[in-house]
């Protein structure tokens, strides 16, 4: 504990250097703008800047990328509340009560409530990161290939069994992600796979290109389909708004605590900020003393999803930095940036690059705090970004996305892939195939395969190696139970539930 505090202070020394601080401010501002613009999400904002970051020192680069994430977490809510247009998927839940409250005459209070809830969620997330990351990393050092594979199985099982979408389609989406990851050169034997004699497929699919297409273009198609009408409420934030918002935060501790805890769990599990905000909204409504107020501008209905979104975003860092398993799609892209610097996230990172890791953790504190400080006074200013016509910023977003996709590998073919992934993302969303697990499978594909093959070699071909004691067995059993949960749950209900 004391050691962690010392490390954090050392990290703060790095994060508070003028250059890094400046980078964080730039990142947050860019992030908030990314958050405000529908069609340009956190994952994309980060992906587009990866080519820029390459020329920076690793710490500053990572600070820039993560700051964009924090900023976009904060920023998405502004337009949700003022215009009923979520700038980000995770701020959809903010429209349920935020917009009614704003319409009811208190836009300032709704914004402040949302920002403070974000702040509390962030605080919890970074505390978790600071004190649990070293523990988990220490524990993960004991992992062999079989355990690494089991942890990944657990991750993907969570999407299938607890994700809430059609479990079957989730499985298909995950397999598709893994297949895309396997295209190209086999990392172990060097043989070419699934290229079917073409040169084009030899380079494989880069997940950053996929993310830009799936999340960026896919969302743009959905926005275009729906048509974007900005009918806004203008606002200023006054002292009274801040006072009232603080009062409500204290009045509804249950919403705040539930939101934060659910968010932290969803960030770690992983699931990401979007499902976290919906879950928190649902649970809090169920547990609330006045559920009828929900949807009409209830403070609880803002506090819970907003704190959950930011808690999920920040705690998604935890599995990324300790296990190399990103807790959300955006975190996956940040991890991609990390790997470009030649830094492999995982337990060894704590041993080999302690200074870097703690600088980053400290920057999470600084960045989230900065986000709150920057967004409170300037929220109306950022909201004005949406006054720009959609037909102007939409083609620019596509243009910038194309730059991002090209710069990943300096290949024009990637820009075509980006367009194809965009159509795919649109279809996936329409047909209820989840995108997040597919992206994660694409990110972790090589690692998962390598772990599996190494484990099998250790076990001399016997799959029982995945069920060896002491660590792999419980992980694998948990993974299997969660995976088959959609089948187990009805059986359990049949056996026990009917009596009630």
């Amino acid at each position: 504990m004391m050691e962690d505090v010392n490390n954090l202070i050392m990290g703060l020394g790095i994060a508070l250097q003028t250059y890094n601080l400046l980078i964080a401010v730039i990142g947050i501002v860019l992030g908030i703008i990314v958050g405000v613009l529908p069609g340009l999400g956190g994952a994309n904002g980060v992906a587009i800047l990866i080519p820029v970051v390459v020329s920076m020192p690793p710490t500053a680069g990572l600070i820039l990328l993560s700051s964009i994430y924090w900023g976009s977490l904060y920023g998405g809510s502004i337009t949700s509340i003022l215009f009923n247009i979520p700038g980000e998927p995770w701020s959809v839940a903010a429209t349920f009560d935020g917009y009614p409250m704003a319409k009811g005459g208190r836009p300032g209070k709704a914004l402040v409530l949302s920002f403070f809830s974000h702040g509390v969620g962030a605080l919890f997330g970074v505390v978790l990161l600071t004190f649990f990351a070293p523990l988990i990393a220490e524990f993960a050092l004991k992992f062999g290939p079989a355990e690494v594979f089991a942890v990944m199985m657990l991750t993907f099982s969570a999407f299938v069994g607890l994700g809430g979408k059609s479990p079957l389609k989730t499985v298909v989406a995950i397999l598709f992600g893994f297949i895309l990851a396997a295209v190209g050169m086999d990392i172990v034997s060097g043989q070419l796979r699934m290229t079917y004699g073409t040169v084009v497929l030899m380079g494989g699919f880069n997940f950053i290109v996929a993310v830009i297409g799936l999340f960026g273009l896919g969302e743009i198609f959905l926005t275009v389909e729906e048509g974007l009408k900005v009918e806004g409420i203008s606002t200023r934030i006054g002292m009274k708004d801040i006072k009232d918002a603080l009062k409500d935060l204290i009045r509804y501790p249950k919403a705040l605590i539930m939101g934060t805890l659910i968010g932290a769990w969803m960030g770690f599990k992983p699931g990401g900020a979007t499902p976290a905000s919906f879950m928190a909204y649902g649970f809090t409504k169920q547990a609330s003393r006045n559920p009828n107020e929900f949807g009409k501008g209830s403070s609880e209905g803002i506090i819970a999803p907003e704190s959950a979104a930011q808690a999920a975003g920040t705690s998604a860092t935890l599995p990324m930095i300790t296990l190399g398993i990103p807790g959300s799609p955006t975190m996956a892209v940040i991890m991609g940036g990390l790997m470009i610097f030649g830094l492999q996230p995982g337990p060894m990172l704590f041993k080999e690059h302690a200074e870097f890791v703690w600088g980053f953790i400290a920057s999470c504190w600084v960045g989230n705090l900065l986000g709150l400080v920057l967004i409170l006074p300037f929220a109306p200013l950022f909201a004005a970004v949406l006054k720009v016509r959609f037909a102007i910023f939409m083609p620019i977003i596509i243009y910038v996305c194309a730059i991002g996709a090209y710069a990943v590998n300096n290949r024009v073919i990637d820009v075509y892939y980006m367009l194809i992934f965009g159509v795919l993302g649109y279809l996936f969303k329409k047909l209820d195939y989840p995108i997040a697990p597919m992206v994660l499978a694409l990110v972790l594909g090589d690692m998962a395969e390598q772990a599996m093959r190494q484990a099998l070699i250790i076990g001399q071909g016997s799959p029982m190696v995945f069920f060896s004691l002491p660590l792999a067995l419980p992980l694998m059993v948990a993974a299997l139970i969660i995976f088959f949960w959609p089948v187990i749950a009805p059986m359990k209900a049949k056996l026990f539930g009917k009596k009630v």
Binding site: F178, V224, Y416
Partner: protein, 206 residues
């Protein structure tokens, strides 16, 4: 076949599973909102597009078959040094085949019973979407000739003027300033070389 079909259906009845999931979710009122990344515009009920489900499932099936064929060719068994190259993809492909077959079964079945279900796109939505895809694809094609920035300038101008009906002044200003500033930022400041195409190098010489 019929027995298998019935078995599959009873195990993987999507409606039962979905109902289960929705019931377990708090606030069943959030209809269909059970997704990872769904934005607000898909707050519609999911799983009702029976007909539209069929084609993607078929495509996934084809992908699965292609993967299995390739991994059988590469060898998917235990080699001299451990699992062969096709080992992992083989199981992925096999899983894909099984998964997409079940999705297909369900979709066809529901389609027979309850009709086509909801349309994939609302009426009139295809046009604006094509208006985004086709010019973007054209931009990438032109990129091969004159480089990304010039192609983007053309693309921005075209989209804003022809689709967005934005005034000439704004259109011209933005379609010059945006590519120019991005050119300076990426190519000059951060030294990220962007595609020049065949003739882009001659056209942009500063």
């Amino acid at each position: 076949m019929k027995v298998l079909h019935g078995l599959l259906r009873s195990i993987f009845n999507p409606r039962r599973i979905i109902t289960q999931v929705v019931d377990r979710l708090p606030n069943g009122g959030l209809k269909g909102e059970r997704s990872q990344t769904d934005p607000f515009w898909s707050l519609k009920e999911g799983g009702s597009m029976r007909k539209a489900d069929i084609v993607p499932a078929l495509l996934f099936l084809l992908v699965g078959i292609a993967v299995v064929i390739d991994s059988v060719n590469l060898g998917f068994m235990w080699g001299r040094t451990g699992p062969e190259t096709g080992f992992f993809p083989f199981y992925l492909g096999a899983g894909m085949i099984i998964g997409s077959l079940i999705v297909l079964f369900n979709a066809v079945n529901l389609y027979r019973k309850q009709g086509a279900g909801k349309r994939l796109m609302p009426e009139g939505a295809l046009r604006p979407i094509l208006w985004v895809i086709i010019p973007s694809a054209a931009m990438v094609l032109i990129t091969e000739l004159v480089g990304l920035h010039i192609a983007a300038a053309l693309y921005l101008g075209f989209y804003m003027r022809a689709v967005g009906k934005i005034g000439w002044t704004t259109t011209l200003l933005i379609s010059i300033i945006a590519p120019l500033s991005l050119y300076i930022t990426f190519d000059k400041l951060f030294l990220v070389p962007l595609p020049q195409g065949l003739w882009g190098g001659y056209l942009l010489r500063f």
